[in-house]
């Protein structure tokens, strides 16, 4: 509160109050009230104040102005009127009066005294008085306030040079209003009549050019006119009530400070910022500014943080999540993990110890972050890391499972593999969930997948690889995809394919792992509104497919792996096999491994659309600035959107018992999405969405009639 340094409302108030404290209560009140709005107004209006340094109170500046005016008025040659004589006569006593009391009221009085004019013929008896305002005689009472005000008008007109002080005169005019009120309190109540006012006008016009006066009357802030006459009426009506301010409370410093405090207390947390801002601004606008500044960054962070919320599946699986969380939160388990991994490494006798070790370390880190990172799977920034981590974990999980199942090697403990297997299942399920919307390639046609075929080939080239093979990942994926495609070809709409999709274990015999995966898939089917329909991939980009492929690879590792293990139990852990058991989903051999690696990275990192393109589009439609942080989020959204579009189109095509997506399907989709409704005109849509070349083609067709859309197609 006391930190105000600049000229603020509070400071002004204080100054005003201090300067005004010597007055009588009535005067004080009046002057204070006057000064309160006046000071605020003065702050904005004072342009010509001679001495307007920061410390000076506006009141002093006003006083000086008035003095100047008085001097100028005295110096300038007034029109020859008897009033002038009165002025001159009045002048000697005036200097005494001038500097007696430095109130605006007194100053105004002096102005009026010094510049009594001819029209105030009726005021001559008043003019004789030292204080024409103060001496209301009943006969001329009604005229006096008018005269004083009209004097002012005349002043303004007579002092064209002091145009800059017109605002001052306005202020003084405003100040003037309560003065006659106050004065009239002592006198008999004035009865204002229009006739009297008109008389004044006539008087005014006598001595001065009429239009000027009239103009003055009108131009000189019709403000003043309106203010004066009604106020006079008011004064006439209210009588003794005139003096009292209209519901204006005394403003003291304490009150001001209290109000500030209250305001600050009312405000919530950001008040700290706001308080300082407020004190700086000395206005309440600081509130809104502060609030807006505070909340905006939160939104963006929320958006980013809430990415996890998109994956609602996590809610449905509290049990497994808890397991994972336990795993994560338990450092001892992590240590066990590490130990286990090391044991596996030792067992395996890795030819790629370098890769394994850092991977295991990364694994530990990623295990903690998997559940959260899983949600970022689609994020190209994370994707590269994610599947790696998942693969690693899964690899370790597989290793654990393998150990558990085979019991061929000494396990560190039964608990760890179990937990890891749980983790693995969880991860797999989650991966499945993540990509469920994009229909884990139930109908992947390998020809449409460039990298996918690559994967397929590589995987198929390694049929003999064994359980520990993470090589199996691509192979397993391929297997599954093949199975899926088979199913997809034969399946009907939705549910059947879904079920087939759930059938990880086509040919798999292993039990709980697969079951868990299945349940995971089913559960997330419950959650995920998107159905795992066989998708016509013509609409889908290769990148999506590749990503899906990869995810499938990762997701389906365990069951197929387990299956293969059962099929080939004899293929024990041979070191080279285990070596290939890198956490990376790569072929066992080093060459294909290395070949695969960049491909995998490419797959996982690929974006749906180019970054600049996406951001340009986004910015075009956004009203506000868009940072480039939105790109990963938008990418994710785009992926889902295109996935859903493809699914819908496929569903529509199959609904029409077709195997190819036709324009009718697209139409139907647009209708469902609300882009086209019965009453919307096609040409409007065309103009809205299509480039100019198409417009030329389509508009004449569209304008031919809009009732039946298919008929209009060419």
């Amino acid at each position: 509160m006391d930190s105000l340094e600049d000229v603020s409302a509070r400071l002004i108030l204080r100054n005003v109050l201090q300067t005004e404290k010597a007055k009588s209560p009535v005067k004080e009140r009046v002057t204070r009230l006057q000064s309160q709005p006046a000071t605020q107004r003065r702050m904005s209006r004072i342009k010509t104040g001679r001495k307007t340094s920061g410390a000076r109170s506006p009141l002093v500046a006003l006083q000086q102005k008035l003095k100047q005016r008085v001097r100028e008025g005295a110096s300038c040659s007034p029109p020859p009127t008897s009033k002038q004589n009165k002025e001159s006569t009045k002048k000697p006593p005036q200097p005494l009066l001038e500097y007696q009391l430095a109130t605006p009221r007194v100053l105004l009085r002096r102005i009026i005294q010094t510049q009594a004019e001819a029209p105030m013929v009726s005021n001559q008896p008043d003019a004789k008085d030292v204080n024409p305002i103060m001496s209301h005689t009943p006969c001329t009472e009604e005229v006096r306030p008018l005269s004083s005000e009209s004097n002012l008008y005349y002043d303004c007109q007579r002092d064209p040079e002091v145009q800059s002080e017109l605002d001052l005169s306005n202020i003084t005019l405003e100040l003037m209003q309560p003065i006659p009120k106050g004065l009239s309190r002592k006198r008999a109540p004035t009865s204002i009549s229009v006739s009297a006012f008109e008389r004044q006008l006539e008087h005014l016009t006598e001595g001065v050019a009429e239009p000027d006066v009239l103009e003055d009357f009108s131009s000189n802030s019709s403000l003043s006119l309106t203010l004066n006459t009604p106020s006079l009426h008011v004064t006439a009506q209210r009588g003794h009530l005139q003096r009292k301010p209209v519901s204006r409370e005394l403003v003291t410093e304490e009150v001001f400070d209290k109000a500030v405090h209250i305001r600050l207390q009312e405000c919530p947390e950001p008040s700290g910022i706001l308080a300082s801002k407020m004190e700086r601004d000395s206005s309440w606008q600081g509130f809104t500014l502060g609030m807006s500044d505070v909340t905006v960054p939160e939104l963006t962070t929320d958006i980013i943080m809430n990415k996890t919320a998109l994956y609602t599946q996590s809610l449905s699986r509290p049990a497994t999540v808890d397991c994972v969380e336990e795993l994560q939160t338990n450092p001892s388990e992590k240590e066990e993990l590490e130990y286990m991994k090391q044991t596996t490494i030792t067992e395996v006798g890795s030819t790629y110890p370098d890769e394994m070790v850092p991977e295991t370390q990364e694994e530990e880190e990623f295990v903690s972050g998997t559940t959260s990172e899983i949600t970022h799977m689609d994020d190209p920034d994370h994707v590269r890391v994610e599947p790696m981590s998942e693969c690693k974990v899964q690899d370790s999980g597989q290793e654990a499972e393998k150990q558990q199942l085979d019991k061929s090697t000494a396990n560190s403990s039964g608990v760890i593999p179990e937990s890891l297997s749980l983790v693995v299942e969880e991860l797999q399920a989650k991966i499945v969930e993540c990509y469920d919307g994009t229909t884990l390639t139930p109908a992947i046609e390998s020809e449409e997948i460039e990298n996918g075929s690559e994967v397929v080939q590589m995987a198929r080239g390694l049929p003999d690889d064994k359980e520990m093979d993470t090589l199996q990942y691509p192979e397993q994926v391929v297997h599954n995809s093949v199975y899926f495609s088979e199913h997809g070809a034969t399946s009907e709409v939705s549910t059947k394919t879904r079920k087939s999709g759930c059938m990880f274990n086509v040919g798999a015999e292993k039990d709980y792992v697969q079951l868990k995966c299945k349940t995971g898939r089913q559960s997330d089917h419950v959650l995920d509104p998107d159905s795992a329909l066989p998708s016509m991939l013509s609409e889908r980009t290769n990148e999506e497919l590749e990503e899906e492929n990869d995810c499938q690879e990762l997701a389906q590792q365990t069951p197929v792996f387990v299956r293969q293990r059962k099929e080939e139990p004899t293929i024990a852990l041979s070191p080279p096999v285990v070596n290939s058991g890198n956490p990376r989903p790569v072929a066992g051999k080093s060459q294909p491994h290395q070949k695969r690696r960049p491909a995998v990275d490419r797959i996982l990192r690929r974006a749906i659309l180019p970054k600049t393109y996406v951001l340009t589009m986004f910015r075009h439609f956004a009203k506000t600035k868009v940072s480039s942080d939105v790109y990963p989020v938008v990418n994710d959204i785009l992926q889902r959107y295109f996935g859903r579009v493809a699914e819908d189109l496929e569903a529509f095509a199959s609904h029409a018992k077709r195997k190819t997506i036709e324009k009718d399907d697209v139409e139907l989709l647009m209708r469902r999405q609300g882009f086209m409704i019965d009453c919307s005109q096609v040409n409007v849509l065309i103009e809205k969405f299509l480039p100019l070349e198409y417009r030329k083609l389509l508009v004449p067709i569209a304008t031919s009639g809009n009732k039946v859309i298919p008929k209009e197609r060419y």
Binding site: V493, S494, T495, H525, V526, L527, D528, P529, D530, S531, L533, A651, F652, H655, A656, K657, D664, D665, L668, R671, R672
Partner: protein, 123 residues
């Protein structure tokens, strides 16, 4: 116009009543209550969703070059909501099986009748 309006009003009222009943049963199960505004909101949403469903079903049927709305249309509409779609799938299968059973019964009965008739004729 007035008739349609009145009919709409009655429809809405019926929907509102039904949703209220359902909400009450659910509330009894959960041990909590539904406020009136909630029920009203749900009822309004249901009404509008029914409207959307009807339009979609019609467009789906037309898309399949049919003039009658079919079970397949309904399944397509419900594919977005997994639970609903599975439920409908089950129901449709049940219905299909029931139909088949009925058909078989009818065939048997007709066969029996024919047999009896032939027997009668013979007799």
């Amino acid at each position: 116009m007035d008739d349609t309006l009145a009919q709409n009003q009655r429809l809405k009222a019926a929907i509102h009543f039904t949703t209220g009943q359902i909400c009450q049963t659910i509330a009894a199960d959960c041990g909590s209550e539904f406020s009136r505004q909630t029920i009203a909101a749900i009822a309004e949403t249901t009404y509008r969703q029914c409207d959307i469903f009807a339009k979609d079903l019609e467009s789906f049927a037309r898309h399949a070059k049919r003039s009658t709305i079919n079970v397949d249309d309904v399944k397509l509409v419900s594919r977005r909501s997994t639970a609903l779609s599975t439920y409908i799938q089950q129901k449709s299968e049940e219905l299909a099986s029931a139909h088949q059973e009925q058909k078989e019964k009818r065939k048997k009965s007709s066969a029996k009748r024919k047999h009896q008739e032939t027997e009668d004729n013979e007799d």
